[in-house]
Symmetry: C2
Subunit: 136 residues, 2 copies
DNA sequence: ATAATTGCAAATGCTTTGCTTGTGA
DNA sequence: TCACAAGCAAAGCATTTGCAATTAT
């Protein structure tokens, strides 16, 4: 039985190699937003022969196929997460680097409105909040 | 009589060199968001001896001093603009690369609210809209 | 069978840095 | 004067790529 990501690959005509299967598996078991180095070292625990070049190539391929999504938060290298059905944005804890996902429909609507007022159709957006924890 | 940027430098104790003055001048006459290469070539029209390393150093210095602000839009190298009194966000025309500035107070307020609901004090944010022109 | 994928190392592109000479306050 | 800045070339870092060997379909 194939995983979610493997099914997506088959549907998109993406050839399934052992490396890609493993990258998919490791990513689907990650609930955070690892960068390529981190992903590579998690992968290496299962197969130490997979090269970082393959991880870079796969992560890019999966992004283009809509399987992963890529984030370039301020001051960090690119991070990846498995694409989820529901769109969300991110809040980054500036002290710890922790990333919290959130959804806000009102902001989404306003963005669309702003774009339209300027004469544009909204195709994509990026919203990141940077904050520090309020201590109680 | 000194320019705006030159006054800021004096206030912040940033030493004024010919190179920095020229970089400030070229930037203050730019209404777009040039990257370092572009800035360097605009500068070279006035003084061809200023090195790109100096432009990199100055742009970083000015950013840290709150004189310039830096943007990393999707898929591009870092771009800079002169800091303005009023905060604004950006809409990027995905076909032309043109950048349009906008202000939306409602979105600003909602961002603050979202952060607080998650237990965070909002320190900074990044909002970019990517769109294509609606033809009439 | 054969077109696509891998691993490796070399190349890339942007940005930073060490060092020597030059210069602003 | 003299701490700081500039110019140059070399180094750094994340990412991409050419090529020969390997593999999925």
């Amino acid at each position: 039985m194939s995983s979610d990501i493997e099914n997506k690959c088959i549907n998109k005509g993406v050839r399934l190699t052992d490396q890609r299967k493993l990258i998919a598996k490791v990513m689907s078991e990650s609930s955070d937003h690892p960068d390529v180095d981190e992903l590579h070292s998690r992968i290496n625990k299962f197969d130490s022969k997979i090269s970082i070049a393959t991880v870079y190539r796969t992560v890019k391929l999966f992004e283009e196929a809509g399987i992963f999504s890529k984030h370039d938060f301020k001051g960090n290298k690119s991070r990846y997460e498995q694409m989820s059905e529901e769109h969300h944005d991110h809040l980054i804890d500036v002290s710890t680097g922790e990333i919290i996902e959130f959804v806000n429909e009102d902001i989404e609507k306003l963005q669309k409105k702003v774009a339209e007022k300027l004469g544009y159709k909204l195709i994509d957006h990026r919203l990141e909040l940077y904050g520090s924890k309020i201590k109680k």
